[in-house]
């Protein structure tokens, strides 16, 4: 992963702040209940600009799709690694990596883990989740 993550902006500062405590949050509209990612200045479901708040996410989701990258985008990146879209229980989809020696399958349950950045923030990554029933 690239440690050189751009600084947060006004719309994303709270989201990144939560990552310093390893909390995954999802921007949610108090007015209509819509959950969206990335955080932005408007609720895309109801157009509200004054009703958005960051709500703690459960930290669970499923693999929506994935790809194992075999060619490094930068020389210092070790390959292979698994990039995935994870659909959070709250609805929004996150781009992330799956930290596991095994290839995932579509719809596999996953749970959040954290990759710490040098500046104190952290990137949410995901790992296979033990089956809830188990």
């Amino acid at each position: 992963m690239n440690p050189d993550v751009p600084a947060p902006d006004d719309a994303t500062a709270g989201w990144w702040e939560a990552t310093t405590e390893h909390r995954l949050v999802v921007q949610t509209c108090r007015g209509c209940g819509h959950a969206q990612h990335p955080p932005r200045a408007v609720c895309v479901a109801c157009s509200a600009t004054d009703a958005l708040e960051l709500v703690d996410a459960e930290g669970r989701g499923t693999v929506d799709s994935w790809t194992v990258v075999h060619r490094a985008p930068r020389p210092e990146v070790p390959v292979p690694y698994t990039v995935a879209r994870v659909r959070l229980a709250e609805g929004p989809i996150l781009l992330t990596v799956i930290d596991s020696p095994d290839e995932p399958r579509l719809d596999d349950p996953v749970e959040v883990a954290w990759h710490d950045l040098p500046d104190g923030r952290a990137l949410p990554i995901f790992r296979p989740a033990p089956d809830r029933e188990a």
Binding site: N2, T12, P38, T67, H70, V83
Partner: protein
């Protein structure tokens, strides 16, 4: 509305050119104008991108034309299909009379392509996606392919048919980068170097220099020019996403809406299409386009393209130049879809000519399945 036609079409030098972007643009524009029997003195509108910050204005400067109309819409590879719609509207409205749509790139000579892609630092993608090092655009298309194969039960071998068929066409096109390279087999494609699963190097388009241009004017004027007019019958477009997480379902794209609009405007259905030129940045791009444009049902494209249907002599001639996979891919390939469609409708394609082609569709895709634009072209009846 005033009917508009394409009256000139040409490529610039293709492959490895060691020429500047503007020199290649000059080749494309002057060759397309010569094809139409026109000169720069006839041109009052430019549409282009990929030149500079003010791309179309840059061309007006370069060619010393005070343009009455320009369009620098930047939407990746489908921008040129979008520009046909804009140009047809401008000509019909009387704002311009003769418009050149062009693109050229020297990306192979200049080694300017990067696997991680180009992401502006001020976008959400830079904060929320780039840190995970997806290849851009490849990994997004790879995830679309993975989801499609998983949901509908297809195989990489079935998907490889897009590349295999493109090579068959390229072997008939002397201008194709892979002309003379010999046939490509399914085993070659799936056994090629893995880039981002399930896509191998052979599922990915070429990286070449190249480009082209088309010239548009009113159909009325077109009938007095050098070549048989190719009439703009319909167009449509959709813009859906820049991020890798905005689209809910990766197995269907904006091509569905874009195609439906274009076909409705033209008053045709997929059954009326004689030649189909779709964007094949990756095998999956072309497969999703064929399906979303309505040539087969949902989840059916891999069965649909089997058995030679899209190869030379098949029922649905697809990417008859050899496509971005085997002919030329200069980074934004959309203008070359138009050039090939025009040539097929004029009957100029030699060995790869589709006999009696009267309706052709050019469908572009930009970015990471971000933008989609369809143009329906037909012979003058």
């Amino acid at each position: 509305m005033t009917a508009v036609a394409i009256v000139g079409a040409a490529e610039c030098d293709l492959g490895v050119t060691d020429k500047s972007i503007l020199t290649l643009q000059a080749q494309a524009v002057t060759r397309a104008l010569a094809d139409a029997g026109l000169t720069l003195a006839d041109v009052d509108g430019f549409a282009t991108t990929g030149v500079s910050r003010f791309s179309a204005t840059q061309l007006a400067d370069y060619f010393a034309v005070e343009a009455a109309w320009t369009d620098s819409t930047f939407a990746g590879g489908c921008a040129y299909e979008m520009m046909v719609a804009r140009a047809a509207q401008a000509i019909a409205a009387g704002q311009a009379s003769t418009i050149v749509i062009s693109f050229a790139s020297n990306q192979r000579s200049a080694r300017s392509r990067k696997l991680g892609g180009v992401v502006f630092e001020n976008t959400p993608e830079a904060q929320f996606e780039t840190p995970y090092d997806p290849l851009n655009p490849i990994s997004y298309y790879a995830m679309a392919a993975q989801q499609y194969l998983g949901r509908f039960g297809g195989t990489r071998e079935q998907l490889a048919e897009i590349a295999v068929a493109a090579r068959e066409w390229a072997l008939l096109n002397p201008k194709a980068f892979r002309y003379g390279a010999g046939p490509l087999t399914v085993e070659d494609v799936v056994g090629s170097r893995m880039i981002s699963t399930p896509l191998t190097a052979a599922d990915c388009c070429l990286v070449t220099d190249g480009g082209g241009a088309v010239v548009l004017t009113s159909l009325e004027r077109a009938r007095d020019l050098a070549r048989p007019p190719v009439v703009v019958l319909g167009y449509g477009e959709r813009s859906t996403n820049t991020s890798m997480t905005a689209v809910d379902d990766l197995t269907t794209t904006g091509a569905a809406g874009s195609g439906a609009d274009a076909f409705a405007r033209a008053g045709i259905t997929p059954a009326d299409v004689d030649v189909l030129e779709v964007y094949d940045s990756f095998t999956i791009t072309a497969a999703l386009s064929v399906e979303d444009l309505g040539f087969c049902g949902r989840g059916e494209v891999l069965d649909f393209i089997a058995d030679g249907r899209i190869r030379p002599g098949g029922e649905l001639p697809l990417n008859t130049s050899g496509g971005g996979l085997s002919y030329c891919h200069p980074g934004q390939y959309g203008v070359l879809l138009l050039v090939e469609a025009v040539r097929q409708l004029r009957g100029e394609c030699g060995e790869r000519q589709v006999p009696g082609a009267e309706v052709a569709v050019a469908h572009g895709t930009g970015g990471i399945l971000s933008a989609h634009a369809t143009v329906v072209l037909g012979v003058d009846r």
